[in-house]
């Protein structure tokens, strides 16, 4: 396939990618009390990377993000499984979560929850799996 010169798309992508990534982070943290969470956040983040892939090509994207996405998936699984198994260390059943409230200066009352760690795992797994699949299909072209 011949590479067309998409100036408008490329220029717009440079800005939009960061907006989407920021939104995915927002979605990720919103999932704590409202609709959102690791799965949708991860899909959003991989959407941003796919946009990069469309605007540029697979080579450019691999230089920007030099990860092996299969390993990203594995790191995500490690987070999720680690959080799940973590409860066992404290003599609680698997998947038991723990939370507390902290009061840092300036930011006000915040809750800290181990479910966030689990969700980070989900986020990474979704990004990893989606990108692995898209790269597998895209690479041979």
């Amino acid at each position: 396939m011949m590479k067309t010169n998409n100036v408008i798309l490329e220029t717009a992508t440079k800005v939009i990618v960061f907006i989407i990534l920021l939104f995915s982070v927002y979605m990720f943290f919103a999932g704590h009390y409202e609709p959102g969470g690791g799965f949708i956040g991860g899909l959003m983040a991989s959407g941003a990377i796919v946009l990069l892939l469309i605007a540029y090509d697979i080579k450019t994207v691999t230089t920007i993000l030099p990860f092996d996405f299969k390993k990203v998936t594995a790191v995500g699984l490690l987070f999720a499984a680690g959080t799940a198994a973590g409860g066992l260390l404290f003599d609680k059943p698997m998947l038991t979560h723990w939370f507390t409230y902290v009061n840092p200066p300036l930011l006000g009352k915040m809750s800290l929850h181990t479910a966030v760690l689990f969700d980070i795992g989900v986020f990474l797994v979704v990004v990893g799996v989606t990108m692995t699949i898209i790269q597998t299909i895209g690479e041979s072209e």
Binding site: F39, V129, T130, I133, T136, I137, S140
Partner: protein, 113 residues
Amino acid sequence: MEILMSFLIGIIFMSATYLMLSKSLLRIIVGTGLLSHGVHLLLLTMGGLKKGAAPLLGQHAEAYTDPLPQALILTAIVIAFGITALFLVVAYRTYQELGSDNMELMRGKEGNE
């Protein structure tokens, strides 16, 4: 409302079956996607369609909704997402092997004689 949903689910299943019976691999995959959508809608309908508050202690609402079907659907959606993605990769490899997505060309004797 439940009856309307039943009709909708029926139509989705019908279209999914039609698509899965076609020769084109891509249509088959779209068909499986539709099938799982139908199943998820069924799961939602079976939990009862009603408005109400989240079932938290101290809400004192008149009606509560059951969160369990929603949790089940979320799980089922994630699984369907993973399987559809895998199916697409397999389909793409098949396309590379055959140069077409026509399932007729997949026929063969090896392993079936």
